[in-house]
Symmetry: C2
Subunit: 332 residues, 2 copies
């Protein structure tokens, strides 16, 4: 084993910082095996998702390492929430750049431990390497959902109501605030927005409840922007959608920004990183969905309806459609 | 959706090159969903493993893209083979650098398709991003093994025979050959070695057969070098091991290199990237292991025994232990 730069060797790093994170997962054998073996829960389907996070692209290299860790998990947890799955465990790959020191890794592992406790998951396995390029992380999350109950993109039907959790647009304005922009806003508002970007709140409890109760026809998490992700559901379901812009829930800081510059509503509707739920719920189930949301303590808003006409429209109070510059965003 | 550099957007890339790779996996829904949902096979344990591959570190940026793809899968498949699991599917993250063009991705997808067919797996999901740094790839492989039968590192007992498949040391000398070194060797020998590095042959059939038949006490794939991985088994099993160096199988090119410079045997025993199986088999089961190897068409050699004394020793024909400069290697 050779040492490189400031860091202990790969096996030593794993033993010191990552093995403790696998202590609650017997199949991980303290990460001393090559793979994780486990007996799947009976009567359940498994749900798997993976996301990559690269410094400078998905997070800032100067972000606190514990928050980088927690966002890595939460972005993936939100995918599980969008399918109605409850999380079980995760695998992770880390490619540390030359400037990473042991204190960074210790803090990073602290963040993982914190969210493992919060979401009841354990580290199941991974791969620890180095990179000459930017710090690169990936996580693969594994969850379970009662067999056949996973929420899909393709199940929306014309007439279904469009429901969303929380507030829309905080992701994109949160990124701006996190970068030190939006200086017209008061400091507490800027801080609140930045926090929403840095530490998303995946809607685990409500997603799982809706799947278990069979309340929604379709669902996903909003990560590429409300407009783009709604288009994804419509495309997969073979229908359209009309959203009443006035019904789209926004946070106070975003309401303030849009009041000053109404054109910014388009950014709120198309910006990424919201990590809320987007649901297609038949009118007869809306009351049940609201009750599940109440129990989960999650705000839920009815913003429009799925339609026969294939177009995705955002209409103002006069029924006039808003021209959106682009639907959603990608990492290219 | 915005276009960047030479490449189409993320969703277009996925639709064009990666969705076809998910065609045989109904749960992947053509990669148009956020996560993969599936019903695990009954009576089976699932085995999960993940590995990261970064250009310049795990492969050369100039390597043919189809071979990069196939090695990414095979390195992970070898982990499954080491646990005795049969592969089911995989998730993948890709972070493409600025110089990647569509032709590269098309060829990369071709390599994935080729090994998907060879190993009976499908793409279940993933994440496609960009990076300003070196091209970075990860794969998470999922396999299954009859419940409770997964091979572990921790089961070796004193008296068990140490069995290895194939030949040892081709990985490290194959890397040298691939880099254009070892010019004393004839071209065909250099080419054969380089191929072993570029395109490992994971021992899927034998690994699965040994697990299903319960023939081995412990097992893993040799990826960090025979000496280091043997030390891993000993550490997890609480025993030692003595290997007769003369019994360690080497390929003709490696035999030639060692004949010219006997000190090179240490490199063969400690070098990584062999992707062979390392097994602990009780003497009473060696015949069954050999029969399974014969059926799988996989060479299998008996190279020594696990011992009560905790040391890992490699001894010559006179019983003298070889001093190894280091045990295994890491990516630091």
């Amino acid at each position: 084993m050779t040492a490189r730069g400031k860091l202990p060797g790969e096996f030593e790093l794993i033993a010191r910082y990552f093995a403790p994170l696998a202590a609650d997962a017997p199949g991980a054998l303290g990460l001393r095996d090559d793979a994780f073996a486990f007996t799947p829960p009976t009567g359940m389907d498994l749900v798997l998702t993976t996301d990559a996070a690269t410094a400078g692209l998905h997070f800032l290299r100067s972000d606190p390492p514990d928050l980088v860790a927690r966002k890595l998990l939460r972005v993936n947890l939100s995918d599980l929430a969008g399918k109605g799955a409850r999380p079980l465990g995760y695998l992770m790959t880390t490619a540390f750049d030359d400037a990473i020191d042991e204190a960074w890794i210790a803090k990073f592992a602290e963040g993982l431990a914190q969210d493992q406790a919060e979401y009841g998951i354990a580290l199941w396995g991974g791969d620890t390497t180095a990179t000459p390029g930017p710090l690169a992380l990936t996580a693969t999350l594994i969850g379970s959902v009662p067999a056949g109950r996973a929420l899909r993109r393709g199940g929306a039907r014309p007439g279904d109501r469009i429901l969303v959790t929380g507030t829309i647009g905080d992701g994109i304005f949160g990124l701006a605030a996190h970068r030190g922009e939006l200086t017209d806003l008061a400091a507490p508002a800027r801080h609140a927005l930045a926090q929403r970007y840095v530490l998303p709140q995946p809607r685990m409890a409500l997603g799982a409840a809706l799947a278990e109760q069979g309340v929604a026809h379709a669902g996903m998490d909003i990560s590429d922007g409300l407009a783009g992700d709604l288009a994804h559901i419509c495309e997969a379901s073979g229908c359209g959608a009309t959203v009443e812009i006035a019904s789209v829930p926004v946070s106070d800081p975003v309401a303030e920004l849009v009041a000053e510059n109404p054109a910014l509503i388009a950014s709120a509707l198309t910006g990424g990183d919201d990590y809320e739920l987007l649901l297609a719920v038949p009118p007869s189930n809306v009351a049940a969905a609201r009750e599940a949301a109440r129990k989960a303590g999650t705000p839920l808003a009815d913003i429009g309806a799925f339609t026969h006409t294939p177009a995705v429209q955002f209409v103002d109070r006069d029924g006039q459609p808003l021209a959106l510059p682009s639907l959603g965003f990608t990492h290219f």
